[in-house]
Amino acid sequence: MNNFTVEAIELTRLYGGREAVSNVSFTLSKGQVLGFLGPNGAGKSTTMKMLTGNLAPSNGSVKICGIDMMENPKEAKALIGYLPEMRPLYKELTVDEYLIIAARLHRVSSGNIKKAVEIAKERCGLGHMSKRLIENLSNGYQQRVGIAQAIIHNPMVVILDEPTVGLDPIQIRDIRALIREVGAERSVIISTHILPEVEMVCDHVQIIDKGKLVFNGAIDVLKKQRIGNKLMITMHNPPSAEAMLKIAGVTEVEVLPAGQMRVRFADGAAPAEAIVLAAVQSNWGLHQIAPDQTSLEDVFVQLTYQEQAVAEASIS
C-alpha cells in the first residue's frame, strides 16, 4: 500500500475526437505542492476538472488517497477541496452564510461548523468581512472566499486553479504563504502561468502542453536546468571564440553582439578566475562577468518548443 494522496493514471479526455488531455499520469504524496504549468489551452483546467470529478475522463482513472473517483465518487470528493478557475460563489449570500453552506456540504459535523468557518476565515484573512455580501467584495477578497471554501473541511488534497489571478502583490504574498502552509501537511495542486510563482511555492512541477505532459519532476531539476554551467561575459575588445576555448574548462563559446560572450563550462570546472586572468593579460577590456541564468520562461519555452519539434519530426 502506497501513500500517494493523488494518483492520476493515464488520464485522457477527448472533446469530439480531439484530445484535450492525453495520457497524463502522475502521483503526489503528502506534504507536496505541485505546480501545474502550461500555456493557454494546454489542458490544465481539464486535468483539474477530471481530478476533482467534475469531468469524466474518456480513459484512465483518478485515485484520491487510494479511493477511486469513478467507483466511490462521494468518498473521494470528501477528501478534496477545489477552487475552479471561475470562482463558484453565490453572490447573494454573505461570506458567513456561504462558508457555512460550504462546510455543511463538505460533511463538516454540525458541531464543528462554526469553528471550521472561523478557522477558514482567519487563514484567508477574511475575519472582518463576515457579514458582507460576497457581491460587494473586491475581486481579491472574492478570491479569498473561494480559497476559504476550498480549505474549510481541511481536505487531504487542495486543488486550486490559478489562485493568484487578480490579486494585488500583498495578497499574492499572503496566498502563497497560505499555500505553503497548507502544503506542509496536505497535498496542494495549483495551476498558474506565473512562472516565478511556481519556483516560490511548489516543490514539484509539471509542464503540460497540448494535453501532454512534457516535464514532470522536482523543482530542483528545473532550477538546475535554469542556472546551468554558464557565464555571461561583456568585454570592450572581445577575443575570438578560439582564444576563449583555450581556457581550461570552457567547452562552448557563443559570441553575442556588443562584445558579449556566453561561455559554457564543464561540470565541476570554475573557469571564471582563469577568464579574468586571461582578460587582464590580453587586454580584452573585461568589465562584466556573471553567471548566466536562463529565465524560467526560457526553460518553459524550450520544453514546450522541444516537444513541438519532436512531434513535427515524427510526422514528417
Partner: protein
Amino acid sequence: MIINVARKELKSMFASPMGWVILSLLMFAFGTYYLNGVNDYFAVMSGAMRPAERTGVTQFVGQMVYGFASFMVLFAVPLLSMRLISEERRSQTLPFLFSAPISLTEIVMGKFFGLVAFLGILVVFIGAMLCTLNIWADIDFGFILANSIGLLLMVASFSALGLYFSSLTQQPVVAAILTFVALFALMFLDRFFAGDPSNTLASLSLTRHFQSFSGGLIDTADIAYFGLFILTFLTLTVRRLDADRLRG
C-alpha cells in the same frame, strides 16, 4: 445531504427580494379571493332557495381559492424554478456542488425539495386561511386537506418540470418561458380533447388529475400520476447533469 442542498436553495430564495415578493403577492391575491368568496357565498346562497342548490361554505370558498391557486402557480413556479440550475450554470457555480461529496441525485432532489418547501409555505398558508372559516362555521377539514394535498402535488410536479427545463439552458428567462409553455400545454391538454374525454392524451392533462382532489377526493391513481410525473422529470434532470460531466 439532500436537506443541506434544500436549505441552501431556501436560503438563496429568501436572500433576494424575489422570494418574499412572490410569496406576499400570491398571498395577497389568494386573500382577496378568499374574502370575495365569503362575500359571494352570502349573495349566492340567499338567492338559492332549493336545498339542492345549496353548497357548504368550505366547498364554495375552497373551490374558488384552490381553483385560483392552481391557476396562479402556473405563473409563479416558472419564475421560481427558472433560476435553480440555469443560474448556477451561468455564474459557473455548479462545480461547487459537483465537487462536494454529494451525488447528482442528491443535488437534484435537494433543489427540488427546496423549491417544494418554499411553495409548501403557500399551501400551508392557504390551508390556514381557509381554516379560519371554522370560527363561525362548521367546516369540512377533509375537503381542505384533500385540496392541500392536491395543490402540493401539482406544485411539486410543476417544480420538477421547471427544474428540468432549467437544467437545459444557461438563460433563466428561456427556462421560464419553456416551463410556462410546457405547463400551459399540459394543463389544458384535456380541453383539446373535450369531445373525446376517454382519449389517452387527455388523461395526461394535469388539470384532470387535480379535479378529483378539488372535489375532496384523494385518489391513488392521481397520486400515482403526479408521483410518476415528478419522478420522470427528476430523472431526466439527473441525466442532463450527468451528461455535463460526461461530455463536458
